[in-house]
């Protein structure tokens, strides 16, 4: 039984980390309408940032500053945000699909750097030498995995609550306004470019957080983690869960990751041996079909965006004559 719990803890840790990245994407796409085709670059920036800042020194290798975990994690997040800021300044004024291509290219370029800039990223052999936080102190691997899960879930909860607050705040109101009619928003003194940049940077920073947690979980990162398939997986999670809905984003992350690993699990057990060469291929086709099918028959996702009206006049509106100004909060 402990094995099942242990695997579940592991599964949920991974799903939780991915869910954080999906939440970041949801802010960009679901709430702001920015098509980020290079999720993996920001995820990777967080991961590499953490490893460079928090790892141990090595000959001929930049980094290895052995900074404490929270500092290294924050550094990774900051790196992701910085890259997003630079990319955003350059590309956010573009047409939407140009943005998708440009960010896709960013991911290719990022992978290229991780693969080749050996002094910085360890090159193709990757970076390691990171001590997981509290691993030594906890000792028992099982307890540690539970503790790590707790930490990931805490981060997930914090990100979720933070984004929910954001979406319900005047900031969210502004995002929705800009998504609906940019010209009108500009005529009311709003600067859509700045707002979009902020959302892009914040979303990317959240992806960077996920990347940092991922790297600290594996204590290893290499260009193999930077393949475009991660971008696709995270998108699939958002589309299936429901773009614009943070709970949908989390649900999508868990479901898609479960489908991805579960199909491997089942195919390994039940598919004939000669068939197994193609299990990966079949998995990709299945995921592709799920995405396309979802977009064809339920484009809004499992949990559609709730068009929450964040401010109502409440009582005030109903008793407009009395001009009651204590309209209740609708949080």
């Amino acid at each position: 039984m402990i094995g099942v719990v242990s695997y579940l803890a592991f599964f949920l840790t991974m799903a939780g980390i991915l869910a954080i990245a999906v939440l970041g994407l949801n802010l960009q796409w679901g709430n702001t309408g920015l098509f980020n085709g290079g999720v993996v670059a920001f995820f990777g920036a967080g991961a590499y940032g953490l490893m460079i800042l928090g790892g141990r020194p090595e000959a001929g290798q930049f980094g290895g500053f052995q900074l404490p975990f929270p500092v290294a994690l924050a550094g990774g997040v900051l790196l992701a945000a910085l890259i997003a800021w630079a990319v955003g300044i350059l590309t956010l004024r573009l047409r939407h699909d140009y943005l998708a291509i440009a960010t896709f290219g960013v991911a290719v370029a990022f992978e290229s750097v991780t693969r080749n800039a050996e002094w910085l990223t360890g090159g193709a052999k990757g970076l390691r030498g990171f001590h997981r936080p509290l691993e030594a102190a906890i000792g028992d691997p099982f307890l540690f995995s539970l503790a790590f899960l707790a930490m990931v879930l805490a981060f997930l909860a914090a990100v979720y609550l933070g984004l929910e607050r954001l979406v319900r705040s005047p900031y969210g109101r502004l995002l929705r306004a800009i998504r609906e009619d940019e010209t009108a928003a500009r005529s009311l003194g709003k600067n859509p470019a700045r707002l979009r940049l902020a959302a892009f940077v914040l979303g990317s920073a959240v992806m960077g957080l996920a990347g940092g947690l991922y790297a600290s979980f594996y204590a290893f990162i290499s260009p193999q983690d930077m393949a475009p398939i991660l971008t696709f997986q995270i998108w699939a999670m958002l589309i299936v869960g429901g773009a614009g809905n943070n709970r949908g984003a989390i649900l999508g992350a868990v479901l898609i990751w479960a489908a991805w690993t579960g199909s491997g699990f089942l195919l390994a057990r039940h598919a004939p041996a000669e068939f197994q060469l193609y299990t990966g291929t079949i998995q990709y086709i299945m995921i592709g079909l799920v995405i396309v099918g979802m977009l064809m028959w339920r484009p809004q996702g499992l949990l559609p965006e709730r068009l929450a009206i964040s401010q109502t006049g409440g009582e005030a509106a109903r008793r407009s004559a009395s001009r009651d100004l204590t309209g209740r909060e609708t949080e």
Binding site: W29, G33, F35, L90, T91, R93, L94, R95, H96, D97, Y98, A100, I101, A102, F104, G105, V106, V108, A109, S112, V113, R115, N116, F232, W235, A236, I239, Y278, T281, I282, Y284, I285, I287, G288, L289, I291, V292, L295, M296, P299
Partner: protein, 304 residues
């Protein structure tokens, strides 16, 4: 240096062929189609099947054409592949993109195209396996044009370049000399007005897919002729083809052709300015540079 330039022109011709259809489809349907480059792989593999078939049926077709590694069977297979790829492009549009167009926004289409690309690529893997395949085992040797500096050119290369340019010329003539071409350009500029002017929109959309598929198939076969076939070949061309489209300006066929050559030559010369490992990022750098300097590409117009 000159050698790199020459090689860049060859890659450029293939990229151009791929970009022509993409630029029209992107312009007309208003979305970045990430599955587009997979049409090249479809074309190359269809040609492989028919090449083998024709060779088996008509042994005489195995004779190579002149100094080329192309034989008559493959030449016939190329024609079949162009038609078949065009039809599959139309079918994909009917099955997937048209439905999504009716239900969701253009960005859902972008993502759907990610999914379609994944399905197509893996279906090819499932059918043909991951192994690299060749139309012909023979290696066609290059001809030395000059010893100092060393300039080499392969007959296949010359043929591919000539054939690509011929296809582009034909297409150019169709666009500028026939009313069908006018209709294509009209739909690209203003679909609603084109309808009013008597153009059937759905027929034109199908025609664009058909042409794009055929040209992509040609690009795929030409590529496989000078390299090899692999299920990932379309994916490998994704960024270069997009780069060419954007450099030229979405909607501009001439821009796509020029963009293809620019991307090809730049990739050819990339090694002169950057370490070999970074070369894959070259198309992206071109995209970025063009978007910063001319957000609508060299020939593109601002879209309303």
């Amino acid at each position: 240096m000159i050698q790199n330039l020459l090689d860049g022109v060859l890659t450029g011709a293939i990229v151009s062929l791929g970009a022509i259809g993409l630029t029209m489809a992107m312009h007309m349907l208003r979305f970045a189609n990430f599955s587009y480059a997979e049409l090249m792989a479809i074309g190359a593999y269809v040609a492989l099947v028919f090449d083998r078939l024709f060779e088996a049926l008509i042994p005489a077709a195995r004779a190579a054409i002149g100094p080329l590694s192309l034989n008559w069977a493959l030449a016939a297979a190329l024609v079949v592949a162009m038609a078949a790829t065009g039809l599959s492009a139309v079918a994909i549009d009917r099955l997937v993109f048209r439905r999504i167009r009716q239900r969701a926004g253009p960005l859902s289409m972008v993502f759907a195209s990610f999914g379609v690309a994944l399905i197509l690529r893996n279906l090819i893997t499932l059918i043909f396996g991951l192994k690299a395949q060749l139309y012909s085992q023979e290696i066609a040797f290059a001809v030395i044009l000059s010893r100092d500096p060393l300039i080499l050119i392969k007959p296949d290369q010359v043929f591919v370049l000539a054939a690509a340019l011929a296809l582009m010329l034909i297409f150019h003539l169709v666009l500028t000399r026939t009313t069908f071409g006018f209709a294509l350009r009209a739909v690209a500029e203003n679909p609603a007005l084109a309808q009013v002017a008597g153009v059937r929109l759905s027929a034109m959309v199908a025609a664009v897919w058909m042409i794009g598929g055929a040209l992509s198939a040609a690009a795929g076969v030409f590529y496989a002729l000078t390299n090899h076939l692999a299920p990932t070949m379309g994916h490998n061309f994704l960024l270069p083809v997009f780069a060419a489209t954007i450099v030229g300006g979405i909607g501009s066929v001439h821009g796509a052709v020029l963009g293809g050559f620019i991307v090809g030559i730049a990739s050819g010369l990339a090694l002169q300015i950057m370490p070999s490992g970074y070369v894959p990022a070259m198309p992206f750098l071109i995209i970025l540079a063009v978007l910063l300097l001319r957000p609508h590409g060299l020939f593109g117009e601002e879209q309303a």
